[in-house]
Every structure is written in C-alpha cells, then in structure tokens.
Symmetry: C2
Subunit: 282 residues, 2 copies
Amino acid sequence: MEQFETFLGSHLPSAPSFHPHYENSLRQMLIGGGKRFRPALLLGVVRAYNPLLIQSAYHAALAIELLHTYSLIHDDLPAMDNADLRRGIPTLHKTYDEVSAILAGDALNTYAFEVLSNAPFADRVIVKLIRSLAHNGGAEGMVLGQAIDCHFENFRLELDQVKMLHIHKTGKLIAAALQMGAFIVGRDDMAQELYDFGIDLGLLFQIQDDILDVTQNEIQAGKTTNNDQAKNSFVTLLGFERAMEEANILADKINRQMTSFDENLQRELSPTLNHYINRHKD
Amino acid sequence: MEQFETFLGSHLPSAPSFHPHYENSLRQMLIGGGKRFRPALLLGVVRAYNPLLIQSAYHAALAIELLHTYSLIHDDLPAMDNADLRRGIPTLHKTYDEVSAILAGDALNTYAFEVLSNAPFADRVIVKLIRSLAHNGGAEGMVLGQAIDCHFENFRLELDQVKMLHIHKTGKLIAAALQMGAFIVGRDDMAQELYDFGIDLGLLFQIQDDILDVTQNEIQAGKTTNNDQAKNSFVTLLGFERAMEEANILADKINRQMTSFDENLQRELSPTLNHYINRHKD
C-alpha cells in the first residue's frame, strides 16, 4: 500500500485561497494515516484480475478513501460522537473549529465524485463506479447507518436492527470497494458475489471494532474509545462472550467464502484480511 | 417549472427504515419550496437548443437542486448561520436535531451524484455533468466560498476578496447549471460562455440578496434575515447606495451578454432572469 500512499499524497484536494487553513483542513485527515482497508480491498481485486490496471485503480481507491474520510470527520463532530482524537491526531473540529470540520467533510464527499469523473477509465466504467459509490455511501447506504446509530444511541435495539445499522454504516462501503474493483477489471459477473462478501466483512469488522473498543485504550486505538459503550454495540447487546462467538461464526463464513474464490483473488485478498481482521478499524 | 416540481416530487430520496424521521429529513427541504433558479437556468438552455431532451434534463436539474439544498441545510446549522427559518419553514436542525441536519445534507450531496449516474444520457455526457457539478459545487467551488464566508465573518475583507467569496459561494453552482445545460444538448462550444455568464449572474444574485437582506423582513424573505449584516455583505462593504450601483452595473453587463446570445436562448432564459433578478434568492 506504500504506492497508494504516494499516489494519495500527490492527489490531495487543492484549493489555494487567502483562507488561512481551509486547504489544510481538507488534507489533515487524509494524510493523518488510516488503515486504507477499503482501498486495499479494491486494489486487491484489481491486482487479482488485471494488475496492469493498478495505476488507474488508485483513482478509484482514493475516491472511496475520500468518502470514508469525510464520514469520519462528520462522525467525530460535537453533535455526533464528539471525539477529540482520530487516526492518532486531534479531530478537525478540535484542530480548527466546527465549521471547518463540517465543510471539509462536505468538500471531501463531493471530491470523491470529482476524482472518479476524472479517472482514466472508459466513461461506462466511471459511471458504474460513481453509481456504486454514491448508492452505497449515500442516503440508502452509509448515511442511513449513521443516522440509525445516532438516533438510537440511548435506546436498546434488537439484534437484527443492530445488524442492519452496521451493514449500512460499515458494510456497504466495504462492499462497494470490492464491487468497484470488479467493475474496473470488467468482471461484472463477480460484482454481486464480492459485494455480499463485503457486507459480511463489514459486519465482522464492526463486531471486532466493538470488542476492541472495550479492550483497548486510546493510545493503542489512535482514537477516542469507550465512546460506543452506551450505544448499540454488539458487546453491549450480546455481552463480550457472545460478541466474540458471533465474530468467530462470521469469520468462519468469510473464510469459507474466500476458499470459493479464484486462487489469484484469494492470494490478493488474504494479506488484507489477515492484516485487518482481528485488528482495529480506523 | 410546474413539470419540474412534479418530477422532483416523484424522485425524492427514498430510504425506508425503522428510523422515525430520517426519510422525512431528506425530503423536507426539497419539497419545502425554493425558487429552483439553478434548475430553471439548466432547463432554459436545454429548451433553447433541444426541447426534446427536456424530460431527461430534469434529472440533471434535480441533481443541481440537491446539491444546492444540501448546502442550505448545512449553511443553516448552529455552527454556521444558526438560522431558524428557511424556505418559509423551520430549518432541519430546528424541526429535528443537528445530527439529522448534518446527515441529511451529507446524503443529499452524495445523492446528487447518484441521480446523475442514473440519468438517461450517454455515459460520456453523464461524466461531463458529474465533473462540472463536483468541481463547481466542491472543494474548489461552492464549499470554498462558504469556508471564506464563515471564517471571515468578523473581519473586513477587500472588495476583490468579497467578490471571490461570492463567485465561489453562489456563482460557481449557477455557472455549472448553465454549463450542464450546454453539455446535455451537445453544445460544448457554448459551455464556457454560459459558464462565465453564470458567474456574473451569481454575483448579481448575491448583491441583490444582500440588498434584500436589509430591506426585507423574515416573512417576506421566507428565511432568517439580517443575518448577513455583520458579515462581508456587499451592503456592509460598500454601503447601500454603492451596492445598488454595483448591482446596476452588473445587470447592464448581463443584459449585454444576453443580447449576444442566439435568439432562442434569449427567449428561454429571459423569463427566468426577469423572474429572479431583483427578487430574493432562496
């Protein structure tokens, strides 16, 4: 992922003006680290089926990281998680102010689509990529998950509702990353299978995140932790033991799905899954 | 514009879930009225050059209205204008809460690009439309204008800086509307000229808005007024008389540009300009 970091570093949003920190506010959370899980998945699919397209695929990987990063900036706002720390550094509204954080999030959201519209793919591929990112990252996808999460912060939801929450909040963007990889390499026949795999992966990711949230401190996690305890986390809902059980069941399912994939896809996705599963999410 | 309202009403964002007001929060500001200035400009260009494409063009007009509406929702937030009233109804964060307003704005921003990605145009046209909307509505466009506006709320800017502020905050999206109209009808040769015309139009629109802001009350304007007085409004900067003068100079320039356009374009844009110029902006 080193090459992707270099690409990201040279494709940061640019907006020169007499505003003293606007451009920095757009960049801070992007260069502030992050595990690049979604880019890694998208790039894994591309590497498996057509490694020659990897340079072009960086544009799409950047777009999905932009959308993810905007969502983190807004999640951390005082009206939502009110977090002071993210990716090991102060959150944007702590570094600057709330206006800067709201607007940086807005700008990165839109910029994701600008990056895709300028990506070096055929127009029909660009349109598919934008459709997938917008649908899964938007009103019926990630944002719905976040809305449910915030609104029911102090209500106990049913397990199915919590699953729906996280399928939207976390799963859909991960699923889109894999699906977008399939579109880039022209393997539209794989798009649905990879999408479904991504939904499961997102759910596992979230359960693990909930587990880590109660076992890690802020320095280990690089962000404000123990924030989710009052919320509908899987640990709160199921208890620690059963949350671990659910995580293991899902991990088994994901492993079975992995073995059904082409060898080259298994080879390319394995390092990413091994690296991130059972670690923390950014 | 009645047909566009009907189209908008049947293409509202949909996101059924067990959340009690999420879907309503996405729709409230869209159906809450608004002058549809940007859609009217886009549709005017399409009607001038290829009226057969008007049904398809509604998708693009909706996209630009979605982007504009998200920006109003976020502008009204407590951290920014802290407005209670918009389009004659309570602002979203007043009706529900801040989280709902932030997330509805986020969702509408993304949804604008989903709508374009599904619009009934050739892929190469869709890509051009998305590129224009994202570039002008994003980090280097509208959002930069808003960032400057908020950050320098209590500083006196130079006239050139205030112009730059409003060219970005208001002009660029209006310019994009006209440019997108040109792309839809395949008149890419007209795109730059219409874009520049839109920048002037946006500036005039803003000066008039500033003038109305000190002459109208909330009921007439349908939104919280006198909010902009402490800010870098043209009236604050130039005084009422000189702001009126600037508005007249700009109006003359726009009229001259209009007479240089094809007759059919003049005919289609005139009603919109006559209707909105010297009235208030939503």
